[in-house]
């Protein structure tokens, strides 16, 4: 069976995650070989995921870690004293 583009699009996400079965994977790959449109969509989606996982894209607020550990230190300190009251 030959896949059309729309069918490939429906499975792009699962294809990227490698959760499609072997037969469908093969069909998708066959389609990708000769379809520039779908290859481009696949590549662009993959690139977005690479960018998403890149720590520079979603940055933490400046000083976040310091403030967190400061507060945690206070909590740890007080937890020894009044842990029964918690």
């Amino acid at each position: 069976m030959k896949l059309d583009c729309k069918h490939v699009w429906e499975h792009i996400s699962e294809y990227i995650d490698n959760t499609v079965d072997a037969k469908l994977r093969e069909e998708i790959e066959l389609h990708l070989e000769h379809c520039e449109l779908c290859s481009a969509i696949l590549d662009s989606t993959r690139n977005i995921l690479v960018l998403t996982a890149d720590d520079r894209t979603f940055e933490l607020p400046v000083g976040y870690s310091e403030r967190l550990h400061e507060r945690l230190a206070k909590e740890l300190e007080s937890s020894g004293k009044d842990s029964e009251e918690e």
């Binding site: 729309k6 699009w9 429906e10 792009i12 996400s13 699962e14 990227i16 995650d17 959760t19 520039e36 449109l37 290859s39 481009a40 969509i41 590549d43 662009s44 989606t45 690139n47 977005i48 995921l49 690479v50 960018l51 998403t52 996982a53 720590d55 520079r56 894209t57 979603f58 933490l60 607020p61 976040y64 870690s65 403030r67 967190l68 550990h69 507060r71 945690l72 230190a73 909590e75 740890l76 937890s79 020894g80 918690e86």
Partner: protein, 208 residues
């Protein structure tokens, strides 16, 4: 059991036995994850930071209830999600529309957008600041149910099962939401990916 899990189990045992200072060390690898989880729910940086602190302190207080049948990261993510939802409920007032009640019912267009001259997009396009900014905005604007799945799966890189477990939904739902989130982002970002790339400035094309 993976090495990280083993090390964590050992750390947790020591913390519970009284070496509480080690909690700083236990939590360090997950600070980012907790913050991003909160941000995906409350959508406000100050609130996300407050919530992240609160979630981590909660994790410390309830560490004894961590059984080790889930991964520590998943357990912690669940605490972070609960903290986020609590804040959201408070902000919205009563249970007007809780996150879980929103379903996939609203049909939308989840097809990707075609790119015609993709071949011309080199790596340096991905290094552009505008693209990162556009991605941040696009993620922030995703409907809640999609943004949360996308954050856990693609930003924090939890697997499908862990994402499902943390959010309390089934894996099929995770897959559907993830697919839609990714396609919506692809569509939103195509215009940025298409923009003509300026002249080369070294392999990664950093502007500075």
């Amino acid at each position: 059991m993976r090495t990280t899990d083993k090390n964590e189990a050992a750390l947790i045992a020591r913390i519970l036995a009284g070496e509480k200072e080690l909690f700083h060390e236990l939590i360090r690898p997950y600070e980012r994850m907790v913050y991003l989880t909160l941000l995906s729910i409350v959508k406000n940086e100050t609130d996300a930071e407050d919530g992240a602190q609160e979630a981590i302190i909660n994790a410390y207080r309830h560490l004894v209830s961590f059984r080790g049948d889930a991964k520590f990261s998943t357990w912690l993510t669940t605490i972070a999600i609960n903290e986020g939802r609590k804040r959201l409920r408070k902000a919205k007032g009563a249970a007007e529309d809780s996150l879980e009640e929103k379903t996939e019912a609203h049909e939308g267009d989840y097809t990707p957008a075609p790119l015609t001259d993709w071949r011309e997009i080199p790596l340096e396009a991905l290094e552009r600041k505008e693209l990162r900014e556009a991605l941040r905005v696009a993620v922030a604007e995703l409907p809640d149910i999609y943004r949360q799945v996308f954050t856990l799966r693609d930003m924090e890189e939890l697997n499908i099962d862990e994402t499902a477990q943390a959010l309390g939904i089934n894996t099929g739902t995770v897959k559907v939401r993830l697919h839609r989130a990714r396609m919506m982002l692809q569509k939103r970002l195509v215009p940025y990916l298409k923009t003509t790339v300026p002249a080369r400035r070294g392999f990664f094309g950093r502007a500075q």
